[in-house]
Symmetry: C2
């Protein structure tokens, strides 16, 4: 890396305005000698932890998103480009979008991941993943349409296939979707139909492992399974999906007839990472060094879900918002320190030695299951039930960006709690949409 000779400023290019990219960008705000460009194909920062509530009609899409431009409107050293990243040339220090080339002095890749099908890309056409607001509103429309079509169905077998929802993947997202589907069908839609009984809806949660929530302590997975069972969700463990097709999912023991397959089983890095020429893990994530830089590229970093790191504490950094935020902070510190030293005349040769190793500070993980039921694992202890649920609600409200969104979400939660009545059961298009192309919406 060289100090920028022709440019009077250090050019920082950040790809992706998720938790990691945005945190990094905001931490660089006070330095007029930086020229930051944040590139994102969406116009908003998305609060992904609540995305499943948009998909299951509890919240409206704008409630969990903020325009990236609005968030950064006061940050004079940053500009936002709503464009798609087309290629990254690490050797030439530049990024290309369809319309322009962006040279950089520092690059931060924070593009996140997309829904992955373990090499079975052909399954994508039968499933809906959940990574973007477009995914969520499509899923919402499809779920609501399934009930409408079942109400109008001519044979019991049509109706039963329409009212069978299969959620693939028993991690936090799968558990949360299955739980809120159960509440939607068994509580909120009660009395809405004349020909079908929505409480008879079959919700099946498939997990390839021998337990749910396998990144959580074991008894929390058992609690989740029991709780989901009470709510009417059929949990199938050791049920690795063998085939997905039009109207069915096959697992070792059984073929399930269903028109609704929700895929929460896997993610993979966007295909772009394969063009970088650096080492990737099995899901295409960039294996970064302890300082989060890409090996051999001291001025290019990968953070958040798109990165793969076993950190200096020998802990695999999980794909969670807090990890992405911490990584964004770590990289911002490196950029701030190094550019300050370079400005004051230091040779850049000594810089790498100044870099600290990234260490993930694990504040815990949590997942909500349903009304008054959640699990949390934090600071060496675990919690379940109402306590965990209230904690979950509070933490998510606090982390949500924007007071308006916080209040609207709180209001929606209160109504949903008091009346079992999620407020966004609206289909905005007139017919079921096909699943969005995976590459359309995911970074």
């Amino acid at each position: 890396m060289t100090t920028p000779a022709n440019s009077p400023k250090f050019r920082v290019v950040i790809l992706g305005g998720g938790f990691g990219g945005l945190e990094c960008c905001r931490r660089l705000a006070d330095r007029p000698d930086l020229e930051i460009t944040l590139v994102d194909r969406q116009n908003h920062h998305l609060f992904q932890p609540l995305l499943y509530q948009v998909a299951t009609a509890g919240l409206a899409a704008p409630d969990i998103a903020q325009p990236t431009r609005a968030i950064l409107s006061d940050q004079d050293n940053a500009q936002v480009l709503m464009e798609e990243v087309q290629s990254i040339d690490l050797a030439q220090n530049s990024v290309s979008t369809p319309d322009r080339k962006l040279p950089y002095d520092y690059l931060v890749i924070a593009l996140g991941v997309q829904t992955g099908y373990f090499g079975h890309d052909e399954w994508a056409q039968y499933c809906i993943g959940l990574k973007s607001l477009a995914d969520a509103t499509t899923l919402r429309a499809n779920i609501l349409h399934a009930f409408e079509k079942a109400e109008a169905a001519e044979t019991p077998s049509d109706s039963s296939r329409l009212l069978t929802f299969v959620v693939v993947g028993g991690g936090p997202t799968g558990v949360e979707i299955a739980g809120s589907l159960a509440e939607l069908s068994k509580k909120a839609l009660r009395g809405n139909f004349r020909n079908i009984d929505p409480s008879k809806t079959k919700i099946i949660l498939l997990e390839a492992n021998s337990r749910l929530l396998h990144t959580f302590p074991e008894h929390l997975g058992e609690y989740a399974k029991a709780k989901l069972g009470e709510m009417g969700v059929e949990v199938m463990l050791n049920a690795r999906v063998e085939e997905v097709g039009e109207g069915f999912v096959r697992v070792p023991s059984v073929t399930i007839d269903t028109d609704n397959i929700i895929w929460a089983a896997g993610v993979e890095a966007p295909p772009l990472t394969r063009t970088l020429g650096c080492e990737l893990d099995h899901a295409g994530r960039i294996k970064v060094q302890n300082d989060l830089s890409i090996p051999g590229q001291s001025n290019a970093f990968a953070i958040g879900d798109i990165s793969h790191l076993v950190d200096a504490n020998n802990m695999a950094v999980p794909a969670l918002a807090p990890a992405a935020i911490q990584m964004g902070r770590h990289v911002s510190t490196i950029i701030l320190n190094e550019t300050r030293l370079m400005r004051s005349g230091h040779s850049d040769r000594s810089l790498p030695r100044l870099r600290g190793d990234f260490k993930y500070r694990d504040k815990g993980t949590m997942a909500t299951i349903g009304r008054s039921a959640a699990v949390a694992s934090t600071l060496g202890t675990t919690m379940t039930g109402l306590t965990a649920w209230v904690m979950w609600l509070l933490i998510h409200l606090i982390l949500l960006v924007g007071l308006r969104n916080r209040l609207v979400v709180l209001l929606n939660w209160i109504f949903a709690y008091v009346r079992y009545n999620p407020g966004a059961r609206i289909i905005t298009s007139t017919r079921p949409e096909p699943p969005p192309s995976r590459h359309d919406h995911t970074y």
Copy 2:
């Protein structure tokens, strides 16, 4: 009409769950001897008066809609079909959807209207109308994309074409869209961009007549024009659109280069009315008799925007929600009375004599222009400014269905007022959508 011989119940089919159809349906709730089917291609009742606020990013789509099924969940004598009406056979007393045939004893046509282009259907591809939530979210995405594309534009002329919004039609909808576009660009987006100045956005309101709001008293139109002018909207009167094409609108005096044409100039009845064999007005609306029945069809009624009537007071009934509601109520009274008499053995020959004529009770009209500015004409007096605006806010909050929606909308309005910061500036798809097909979303 005959009393239903084979059916033990009177079958009432209501087409459309807007203000008129829903009111009619709910008024029939207490009669177990009625079997009501409400058909709508949307799954929700839409509060159209606030649709422009979804289009201009002030509200989220679910905030102004309620699932029709939820509204009617307690009404045991009614079922909802989410289907498209394909044909109506008045002679055979039946309605067809793609999946079924619905025989009726009473029919209520309340399908509303769709955007109309005065015979220039080819203009539709260049314009966006505003009749459904799909229209509104598409318009929102296109408006926000226009700013994004302008920020990235390479030439000043591209940028200026992208930042020119033409609103066609100076009625309440056109005035409301133009006003909120002005607030969006000149206030809310301030500071969000680096290459463009959104406050330089050109907003042009075209009106073919010699004044705005020509259904209101004259000085209210003048007030609206002056107020819009202060807000930076260019109002062009006597500007009938002569041609619309890719990137331009031509009016007698000038051709305007623009990528954003919002059509609020006209409506027409859905094409279905032309198959009924009854007399229609120039916009395809059904000319009904004073009791709101279709001439020659004493058991089939048309209400709301799809009907055309000069009422018993010699007043042309306007295409407004209150008129549709009153009409729905009028028809429900006829159905309640007649079926009760028929049940008790009266000959149906005497029934038409029992029918009262519909008389529209004009409670006034209002339109909002912007922050603290509205016009209202009610009970012989007129109002402008803050008083009218507060009245507008209160009335719309009260009329909105559902406490949750009322509170969320109120919250959004407070934030928009205090912070000039509409809360839904979110693009859920990744690229600008083409205008929805007119026939896709309109009834």
